[in-house]
């Protein structure tokens, strides 16, 4: 059982990493348009830790990330990310049991997160399905490659903070 200090240090590292990724999104990625859309890294930074830390820790971390996103980003309903991120994080954590945490699990969790967010957006924007899907699919496809550096970052934190554990991610 890790000590309180180790737990605080672990989540502080996850939080600082999420902050770094948020700064990259706000300062850099928002200025890039590939195939007409902006990369959207927020679901990745919120959901991928759940595949390493389990449903409880990952769910609470995703809830915190969701609150920050709702305070910073425009969305069709005021609590979109607060509701979607914890649910997606819990599902990600259970997906990680058979799949083992790693790049493939991160890719699936990203698809899951985007699917849930876009479902709510589709219901609120009332757009033509083909137009909506065009934007949603392009956004997902240009964001998926970012799963690799984000996963490597969080995997490094996991290895650093679980050095005594017998389980290791792929």
């Amino acid at each position: 059982m890790p000590s309180r200090g180790e737990t605080i240090r672990k989540w502080l590292l996850y939080g600082l990493s999420a902050l770094l990724l948020a700064i990259v999104q706000l300062a850099l990625l928002q200025r890039i348009r590939l195939f007409g859309v902006i990369p959207f890294v927020w679901p990745l930074l919120a959901l991928i830790p759940a595949s390493y830390e389990g449903p409880l820790g990952g769910g609470i971390f995703a809830l915190a990330c969701g609150v920050v996103c709702d305070l910073l980003l425009p969305s069709p309903i005021p609590c979109l990310y607060t509701l979607v991120f914890p649910l997606a994080a819990i599902l990600t954590a259970f997906l990680a049991v058979p799949l083992r945490s790693g790049i493939s699990c991160s890719l699936l969790s990203a698809v899951l997160g985007f699917a849930l967010i876009d479902l709510v957006r589709f219901l609120t924007l009332r757009a033509y399905p083909e137009v909506f899907l065009s934007v949603a699919v392009r956004e997902l496809l240009i964001t998926l490659p970012l799963c690799i550096p984000v996963t490597l970052l969080y995997a490094a934190i996991y290895r650093r903070t679980h050095e005594n554990d017998s389980r290791r991610p792929i």
Partner: protein
Amino acid sequence: MKDFFKQYGIWILAAAAALSLLLAASSLLPFTSPLKDLEGILFSPIRSGAGAVADWFNERQTGRQTVQQLREENAALRRRLAEMEAAVRQAETDSDENTRLRELLNFVQRRRDLSDLEPARVTEHAVTNWSETLTLDRGSSSGIELNDCVLDDTGALVGFVTELGYNWSTVTTLVDTETSLGARVYRTGELGVAVGDFSLMQSGLMRMDYLSAESLLTAGDLVVTSGLGGYLPPEVVIGSILELRLDEGGASASAIIQPAADFDSLVQVFVLKSFEIIT
């Protein structure tokens, strides 16, 4: 999985529900969240700096034209100049109509009631793929308030201030799905509501609803603000009609509008801080 939800699920759900209610309640309040304000203040210099770096880089890129390209361009321009001289001679015979339209669009001379303008530089275009917004480098410290309308240098309507910080503000453009304003067709006087539509937003267009099914509008008709209610100044150019569509049932019609402002190329805009209602 069942054990997890039995033990912790209800607490996480309760926390998420409580936070959602708080966020929903705070969204109804007429001020920007402190976290958003802090983010805007911290990133304002970065946006300006990143914009300057991008501008420098673009200037280096374009400065690499070769001498041969310049010679070809010069020859093409001479041919173009000859064509334009002929066009100018033709245009002189249409000067009466041009003078009338120029008076309509000559914002500075005509609209003395709209003189309280604050110039602002656009530092960012859009933060997500689902909204069409601009971030400006002016905020409450410059006297800007929420819902102030924003104009381009020709006096065309760009959008409205929807988020406000100390030294930054966010403008929701006309094509965004959150936009809805009273509009009037300048030629016929028909009233309607100009709204953003996500499907049209991808093409930089918007829609005007609640038009009569017997409407006599044609492509190219100018659409301006109606000014009804006093929230917006009247007769500010919104755009021009592209096509008219009958709604299902045929009882009413809607028009597709091409906004006059070019949102993608905007560098500087003007925030209308106050206006006089001239009766």
